[in-house]
Symmetry: C2
Subunit: 369 residues, 2 copies
């Protein structure tokens, strides 16, 4: 009689950062796909596109003109989700939409302020992160550091979210390499959950180890697991300061996390050699992504770190980046997290170990070169 | 000086069922869309398609042949995410992927068993829920009741998720009208959170009202709000037993919830007149959806109710259905919940009141008729 096998039998894995579960059905990858196919990303683009709102020297939708920038370039989002100034939301304003129930726990509302910026990674319209040089990626990281430091100094800002949507499949409306920064007057739900988990982990161990950190422990466990052999390895690549891995509890088929190997609270704390190490891992990971299906691999990526440099729980936070790529089988077949996933629980069709092994097998040279 | 306006100013709303927040940026609907456009759904289809795996009398991918059914039709999912029989997941099996760390809180795993079925709503390949007659929708509901009763009786089943993915944009691989049922040996994350919220709500009020229910209170508050006028109404339609509304905390642009007006724990508890009332609301809502952008409106829909009839918290549960449709502006432009939403917090571009008002304005006659 055969025993339980992670690559054959359904199981749930717990995500200790988000505090949620994911259902893993590895045999499901065998099912034929008859549904929607995406347009294959990665068409040829010119180095400068006169109609692009993000290229140097061009006019944007709202009429402003971009500088003739030669490195990274930051400007305010013309369609910001939050603004610095707006009236307060009082119980009287709530009464307009909730009447007599404005004071009920069922109609809770908060006003949200902040600011949104766009960060162009390069003046070149035709390149993406994995195609930039290491020096250029370092410059992206230094630009993030500058924004984080500047926004952290504003008392009105409680949280800074740096992220990138890459590819049409991830709602990106312009292929020019760029990310965004949305800074808010409140700490949003996802980072709030992670901070609670990190705090609870430390609290439970505080008497023996006052600086106990879940992600420090996780990094070290995954180093052991990778050393123990292929079957237990979720590592994609690493260097002195950072590790890229498929987390044990990954939801998206080729989801990865880049984690600082030492306890670094935020991007602001990285020294020059750590910046270079992070750039190397970002390039190495996104290059393997592109090579996997020989296409410009779509994803949403974002940094989780101390909400701001002065947040009371900043010391608990541990810098990491999440990459959530939708593709499952090829450049045109994605995973849909829909009915069951929305109503019940995220579900995946291959194990984290299988995904990591496929990413590790990719060349570190970009397929276009 | 002007005050706070829900349709002009950014705010967050709290979802008391899921225990999470949503960021609402109503002015953002004005931004131009330059990103991916979907194929417009709703092409003409034959009443019977010889190549469809779901049509009566046809052969499926795995070789089985469908009955020549004339009403609803239930069969086992050929690519089930969970199976009834599989080995137990022991600490020894976990050691294969987690080595020495198999006992650590960072590598938590549970085996997951269960069964998955497909529920064809009609023998007709060319119809969808809003195009079926009320009698046929009643038959779909009765079929769900039968499945729920049968699975509830199995000690190995802890949770029954009934859902529908409709449209290619929602990962549906076959336009034949059908839904699915995934039944599991565990209660998944989303319903577990809702049950916790419902229990906490009752617990906090138990001394004065032992049967206090958040959704009973919500239904009655929304009846008041709707009666107070257009500005505070989130109601789409209602009858004696059910209400369809855009919840105050909706995430998806035209997200709705169908809620039982009286405290009904599960679909199994509906009498014939309640079944007829639910069918009427399902038809009326999906018809307005189709009319909104004159297309076969994609969505993922699912029932939340008592996990099984014998679950210890069954009495706390209150039957409702969630509809999560992705479209935002037209039949081809959807909302992407991506970078900021995945990393930080769901974000929407119009208010729940605006969405409800647009849905209310739709005709109750299907645009194809
Ligand atoms: O089973 P189907 O309809 O082929 O598959 C669809 O629904 C499932 C349940 O929501 C998802 O896991 C799949 O990603 C989706 O494509
Ligand atoms: O601001 P963009 O890139 O136009 O918009 C994209 O990213 C935003 C932040 O994740 C999302 O809210 C939008 O739905 C998406 O299309």
């Amino acid at each position: 009689e055969e025993g339980f096998s992670f690559s054959d039998h359904s199981h749930r894995r717990f995500n200790p950062l988000a505090g949620s579960w994911v259902l893993c059905s590895p045999h499901r990858a065998k099912r034929p796909w008859l549904g929607q196919v995406e347009d294959a990303p990665g068409e040829q683009r010119p180095a400068h596109d006169p109609s692009c709102f993000l290229c140097p020297g061009n006019r944007r939708a709202t009429g402003a003109t971009n500088d003739r920038y030669t490195s990274t370039y930051v400007f305010p989002n013309d369609y910001a989700a939050v603004h610095a100034e707006q009236p307060d939301c009082s119980t009287d304003s709530l009464a307009v939409v909730a009447g007599e129930n404005a004071s009920s726990a069922l109609f809770r509302v908060e006003s949200a302020r902040g600011q949104c910026s766009v960060v162009c990674f390069s003046p070149r319209h035709d390149l993406t992160l994995p195609e930039l040089g290491l020096g250029e990626i370092c410059q992206v990281i230094r630009t993030w550091q500058g924004i984080y430091a500047e926004l952290s100094a504003k008392p009105s800002i409680a949280y800074i979210q740096i992220f990138e949507n890459k590819g049409a499949a991830m709602g990106c409306s312009n292929p020019h390499p760029h990310g965004q920064v949305w800074a808010l007057s409140v700490v949003p739900s996802e980072p709030a959950k992670e901070i609670e988990s990190l705090k609870a982990y430390r609290q439970a161990r505080i008497s023996t180890n006052p600086s106990a950190c879940m992600l420090c422990a996780y990094v070290s466990a995954e180093e052991d697991n990778a050393a123990a052999g292929e079957q237990s390895s979720r590592l994609v690549l690493q260097n002195k300061s950072f590790m890229a891995l498929v987390p044990f509890w990954a939801t998206w088929p080729f989801e990865t996390m880049i984690v600082a190997k030492s306890h670094v609270a935020s991007i602001a704390d990285l020294c020059e050699s750590q910046i270079a190490d992070l750039a190397e891992i970002m390039q190495g990971l996104t290059c393997r992504y592109d090579n996997l299906f020989q296409c410009s691999f779509p994803y949403s990526m974002g940094l989780h770190q101390a909400p701001t440099a002065t947040h009371p729980d900043a010391a608990c936070c541990h810098l990491h980046m999440h990459f959530y790529p939708p593709l499952l089988r090829s450049a045109t077949v994605r995973k849909f997290l829909v009915g069951f996933e929305m109503m019940a629980e995220p579900q995946r069709d291959l194990t984290a170990e299988q995904a990591a092994s496929r990413l590790r097998a990719q060349s570190s040279t970009h397929y276009k070169l």
